[in-house]
Every structure is written in structure tokens, then in C-alpha cells.
């Protein structure tokens, strides 16, 4: 894509070639975003599809004032959140683990692949996954998350905390640490 602004304008006028070029350029990145917010590839594909349809129908509203990629990313995130709200997942609170002095060596961390982490994050309960993604990866504050997800800030903090615990547990389980450092409690 030689000229992003021109391509965006053509997309706004419904130029199918420009839309194809834009899709080819950003599809992989946006699919990565959708995968993080989804429980599996099917859900991520649905979100990516709906997200891109929304991008192309609203692209005329992009004001060229910020990063286009950031704008697209927000649309993908919002699409995933809407899907989550629509489905209204009410997952039971799961068994929680409490870690006492758990430590992961640097070498172990660098050996973990992105695909492995993706599987772990997709295994989170939906609300925890949403809050963790928004806070830890997108950089939203708890106040913003509370508005986006229509929950309280306290709930957001609590969900984040629980998400972290589950993720830590999974990382430790999957990538090997002494099991005697982990205790399991029921919350």
C-alpha cells in the first residue's frame, strides 16, 4: 500500500480493490487482536469479519487525526466486547490459585512462544480475558474498562487480579516449576 490516505478515501467510496489492499495489509494484525479476545479461532474469525465490515462501513468517518491502525484496532476490540456483552457470559467463579513466592527464570520466559501464550489467554474465562487484554495489553485504565464493559472499577480490578492468578498458574504448570510452591484454594 503506497499511499494509505488515498487508499482509505477509495475505500470510503466503496472501491473494492482498495478494500482488498487494506484488508491484505491489516488482516494479520487484526486477526491477532481478535484471537486474544476470543476463546477460539472460530470466534476470532467471526469478530474479525464483523470488525472489518464495520471498518469499511465507517471508514469515511476516520478523520486522519491519529493512527489508522489504532483506529482499526479499537474497532476490533469494540466488536469483540460487544459480542461478549451480547452473549452475556455468566461464568462461575473458578478455583483460584494463590502463589507464594513463585518465580520464573528469564530463560523460561524467553522460551515460551506467542502461540503458547495465546492458548493460555484464550483459556481464561471471557470476562477475565477481556479485562486482562484491555488493561495489560491495550493499556486502558480501570476507569475506562469499567465504562467499556459497564462494570464497576472494583470489579475490573478484581477481574484483573484473578486473571493474573490464573495466567500465572497456567504458565507455571505448562512450563515447569516446583509444584510445591503452588497452593490451591477455593474462592
Amino acid at each position: 500500500m503506497t499511499n494509505l490516505e488515498e487508499t482509505i478515501k477509495k475505500c470510503a467510496s466503496g472501491d473494492r480493490k482498495a478494500q482488498t489492499a487494506l484488508y491484505n495489509h491489516y488482516a494479520s494484525k487484526m486477526y491477532g487482536v481478535c484471537l486474544r479476545y476470543s476463546k477460539d479461532t472460530n470466534e476470532a474469525e467471526d469478530n474479525l469479519q464483523d470488525g472489518f465490515i464495520r471498518v469499511f462501513t465507517k471508514i469515511g468517518q476516520f478523520g486522519f487525526k491519529g493512527s489508522f491502525e489504532g483506529w482499526m484496532r479499537r474497532i476490533m476490540v469494540n466488536t469483540s466486547l460487544e459480542k461478549f456483552r451480547k452473549n452475556n457470559h455468566l461464568y462461575p467463579v473458578e478455583d483460584m490459585v494463590v502463589f507464594e513466592g513463585v518465580q520464573i527464570p528469564e530463560e523460561t520466559i524467553s522460551a515460551i512462544s506467542a502461540d503458547d501464550l495465546m492458548k493460555i489467554i484464550q483459556g481464561l474465562p471471557p470476562r477475565y480475558r477481556m479485562v486482562f487484554n484491555l488493561y495489560a495489553i491495550e493499556g486502558y485504565s480501570h476507569q475506562e474498562i469499567a465504562k467499556l464493559m459497564k462494570i464497576t472499577e472494583g470489579t475490573s480490578k478484581s477481574n484483573l487480579s484473578r486473571a493474573r492468578v490464573i495466567l500465572q498458574k497456567k504458565v507455571i504448570e505448562d512450563f515447569g516449576l516446583e509444584k510445591n510452591t503452588v497452593t490451591t484454594t477455593l474462592c
Partner: protein
Amino acid sequence: MLSENKNIDQIFSEKLGDYQKTPPVFLWTNIQQGLNTHRKARRFALLKTAGIAAAVLLAFLAGWRLTNPDRNDLASQNTIAVQQDVNQKIETSVGKNNNPVNLLPADSGLVASNTSESATKANPSGTSKLSSLATFGANTTFIRNGELISAQKPNELVLFSTEKDFLDQLDPNFKVVRKLAEWIATVGHDSVIAVKDSKQLNTNPLKYKPSEASAAIAVNNPVRKNAGRWSLKAEFAPVFNSQPQNSAQRNNLLSYSSQIGKPKETTAENTFSGGMVAGYKVGKRLIIKSGVVYNNIRQTTRNIDFMEVNPLYNVPGNTSIASTPAGQVSLNKMANTRSATVLNSNYQFSDAAKYSAENELKQDIEFIEIPVQATYKLIDRQFNVGLTGGISTNILIGNRAIFSENGENISNGETANMRNFVYSGAVGLELGYEITNRITLTVEPRIKQYISSLSANESVSYKPSQVEIVTGLTYCFN
């Protein structure tokens, strides 16, 4: 170590922040389809808005016309406008009767004659000051210099409120004049009446010879039978769709009979149509019509087979397809395919097909129809009969497919490859009854045939026909 060097947030953020993965190829196809659907939905919304606006405007205009009695009264009158001088020269020469007809008061100074000879006798100049038979039509008013002239004044024109008044004053012996008067009263829509016949009439019954300084303009408005050139009709019709032939698109896998042991069966369902049609009378008996009409076609297929992921038939992973007379139907992939006979990627019937419950696929295809029709009135009386024929452009505005089992919706989708524009022809017999001068109730049995296939797929020829019983109310303007 984790707690000291990197927390869990950082690990995920660094590794997944810019995570990329190529999505499946079919996704772009789905996005394009979604964009097309969105475009159609937007177009439909615009049409709907325009339709509502037009309906509101028409309702306003109709209301305004109905609630403006002065205008209506004037419109129903025959008016003769005399610019300056009422004493214009009008020649009348009627029939073979030699007896003059004195229609006016003795002191009026106006003389009517029914032959050219008698006219000459009565008025040496060969003319009369009388408007005479020009006043035959009912509801006649004379206007001079923009003012209504009252009747029965000396040296003024004589008015008859109805033709009966006039006829009552005729000498019973003057049958020809009476007959002529009756005829004029029934014709009543031409400004200048010309009688080419006859043995009884020497020449035109009325002949205006305005002086240089004055000119008479006779303007007649149509009487009831020809009330108005413009009309507006609101119509509604039950629609009986033709039964589809189950011989359209097939492929080897989908044509297998269902595992539940019942043959696939597609039946058409009855629907309805309705809309607004404007008419313009281009001749005495010919009316051209056009408007906006909603119409739809609905069919149900029972015991249908589905095929899921199948690269051989280009079926993507998130859809299920089925074959119907209207073409392939593409549905969102069914998570719990309980009754559908599913063919999996290995071209084997899947285990999920062991249920024997009834399943049903409903297809609903909606159009906005823009007809161009001509109606020829065979009988044009209070009860009127006309032949109607025309062609229509049908704009696709809705395309839904719903798969259900025992009344429970399992999945949604649409019929593939539907054309956005298709053409149809229709013929009908219009039976009308004039409730009032302006409002006519019509019933029209009509046969409609789609000329082009509804599907753009060359292997599918789906040209349904419809029988409609169109009931409408027509309002005539002017």
C-alpha cells in the same frame, strides 16, 4: 525471576502485543458478502424513507384536495369566461324544426333560434346574443371580467342549474333539440362541442364568433365519468405463488435423499403485496399507471440435506449450504446440527444426521416493484371494466433463509446469487365501482410472470409466476 524482573502483564504484552496470524482465505469472501448485504440494507432503508415521505406527501395532498370544497365546486362546473362583452355573436342552427325556441324571458332581448333560417329572421345579422346551447351542460356559470354573472338578468345570459331545468323549458315538440341537449349533457367534457352528423343538424350546434374586442373561452370540466386525469390508487393483494419445480440446481452430493427417509419437498407459500400506484389518463379510455409496490416470494423446503466444509464445492468452514429450486442457500454453520443430514469434508454423512425430527428451510425473497401499466376501459360507467397489462422492474430488498426444527430456529442465512433487479410482466382484468365521483373501488385478478430468472447462477432458472387478487381504492384528482 517473575516477581522481580517481569510480571505476568509484561510477558503477555511483549509476546502478544504485536501478535500476527494470517486469517483463513474465505474470510475475505465473507466480508465482501457482508458489505454487499449492508449496502442492500442501506438502499432499502433509503427506499423505505423515500416511500414514507412520498406517502405522507400524497396523504397531505389528498387531504388538502378533499378539504378544499370551493376548489372542488369550481372544478366541477362548466365555465364560460367572457372577456369583455357578453353580447357576443353566437350562431345556432339546430335541426329541421322551423319553430323558434324562446328560452329566455321576454324582456331579455335574447332570442334563440333552432334553424339558421329562423335565426336569420329573429336576428337580421344572422347572429344571436344568446349563448344558447352552450349553456346546456349542468352547473354552468358565466364569468365576465372575472366576476360571476347572475342569471335571469336582462341582456345577460341565462343559466340552468341542471339540464333537467333546461329540458323542462323546451317545447315538447322539439324532440331534436331535446335529444341534442341530452346528448350534450352526457358528453359534457369537450370545450367546444362539434356534431359532425347529421341529417337532423345542419352544422355545429354551437358556433362562437367572438368579436375582435371580445373572445369567449369555453372551458368545460369533465363530468363524473371522466373525472380527472390524475388518480392515485392504494392497493393490497393476497398473492398465490406458483409451486416451484424441484429440478433446479443440484449436485451429486446434495441430491441424495435425506437420511431420515423422506424426500425433499419444496412448496410455495402464499404472501401479500401492497403499494401506491399513480395513474394518468392519456385518452378517453386509456390510463397509464406507475408506482411503488411491495411484493415477496416465500417457499419452504422440508427434509432438506446440508453440506458443510467441503473444498470441492468451495464451501467455507463457517457455512452450511443446501440446494433449493431458487438456488443454493448459504446458512451460518450450525453448531448443533441435529436433524439436518450433514455431509462432512470426507463426503460422508456425519453422525449428527441420525435424528429423525422434521426440519424446515424457509426462504423469503422481498422485492420493491416499480410497474409501468396500461389500463384500457372496456366499459366506462359507474361499474367499469378494464384490461390491464404492463411490465415491472423488481428491486431486491430482502433475502432471508431460516432453518428450523420443530419450530425452533437453528440457523439463518440467505439464498445465494439473487439478482438485485429482475423484470416481470403482468396482465389483469380490472373491475371497478365508482363509490363517489372521485373514489372508485377496484378488484383486479392479475397474473404475474417473472421474465428473468431470480438467480444470477446460470445453472438455476427460477422464474416463478404469481396470481394476485388486487383490491384497491382509487382517488381521482382534478
